[in-house]
Subunit: 254 residues, 2 copies
Amino acid sequence: MISTVVLGFGNVGKHLCLALEQSDAAQLVQIYNRSESEVPESLQKVEFIHELGDLTRADLYLIALPDDAIKSFSDKLKKHNSVVAHTSGSKSLEALKKHDRAGVFYPLQTFSSERTMDLRTVPICIEAKHPEDEAMLVQLAESISEKVKVISSEERKKLHLAAVFASNFPNHLYHMASEILGEHQLDFDLLKPLIAETADKIQSLPPVDAQTGPARRGDENTIENHLHLLTNSRFREIYELLTHSIKETYGKKL
Amino acid sequence: MISTVVLGFGNVGKHLCLALEQSDAAQLVQIYNRSESEVPESLQKVEFIHELGDLTRADLYLIALPDDAIKSFSDKLKKHNSVVAHTSGSKSLEALKKHDRAGVFYPLQTFSSERTMDLRTVPICIEAKHPEDEAMLVQLAESISEKVKVISSEERKKLHLAAVFASNFPNHLYHMASEILGEHQLDFDLLKPLIAETADKIQSLPPVDAQTGPARRGDENTIENHLHLLTNSRFREIYELLTHSIKETYGKKL
């Protein structure tokens, strides 16, 4: 059993704790969070601490904190002969340089406190300075997920960038769609089946083949009408740029 | 029973035919398509024609053709005392002005020939020049979908515009994500759980509350690193504009 302390109990930390508590390979011995938080039923028996001075010994310290906080937090952690790993998509091993046995344990998913999540389908990207630590992190990851991949810091950064295009930006476009409907007292619920099908389609079809819509068809009439309907200049700019990009992709010049 | 002829056997026409064939309210009497097409098993017993001269009499002619073809096709259709409706999100009743009993039967979904689709969850937006024809179209729509809504041409145009933001643009962003991964020999499969969860989240959470990522957090470090990684100038421009838009939305100025 890999004795593990999770440091940080935000969205990522909480989901990891819930999964590790169920894991056959890990023993979740302690959870650190600066402030008090609500602890789910299944984690009630795990020791919860708020002071780094109360930290217990463990094989692995898993830092599940915001990207900007990792480096300074890592510097505050006492040196042990244990593995110290962070859960960030964008930070390199460099952020943990105080610790010789540094690693990364990055679950590629968008976590919200409101949602339960089955981590088994979530890819976990592993990296470690030393091969034996990599093996330990892989073993732990495989005990909670079916999709474990060892990748370098450079690859992880590109994956994280791609994830912004695949998740953060589409969500913002959902928001814009909901604003357009709201202006006209139309219900966002009308778009939910469309959003679900659009995301579902690319599970089996490459997105380049799944593209539909006026830009894909080169339907200038509809594009003109849409631009005319867009009163918000920021929305219009985004419409124009993405329409242009779709046309470029399919060889139809603006 | 509403005797119905479907004109056009592309993605929309085919899915409508499959649903109407199962409907208790409709009798699908004929399908018109200019060219030969593969006909699914369940539609084998429906008459299939390729010449408008062979058109039979029916209560309803449903034009499921590309937006740009609707007007000229409608003008070629003989005047009958039947309802003539199109299935377009962006075209008004005007496109059918040759016919007095004009209507719209717009299923709000992205249709691909490769996908089977349960139309019962797909919103169908109805409009008609005459109240009795609106009632007929609503009756037909309710026989294949649980989400039927009567809306005006103006509202429908706005809905169609919002659908571009909710579906066409996110799909293009999935494509860009897949390109970024492809450049680095990373598998697009890694992003599929993230894409599924992002779309699933907004089924229960308003997109404005579901937003995550560096722009939402105002994480300038990560944004700078991402811009540095983007070698394609079109991708960089889109990243900048959407990042700026997210910051504006959450009150963090660029």
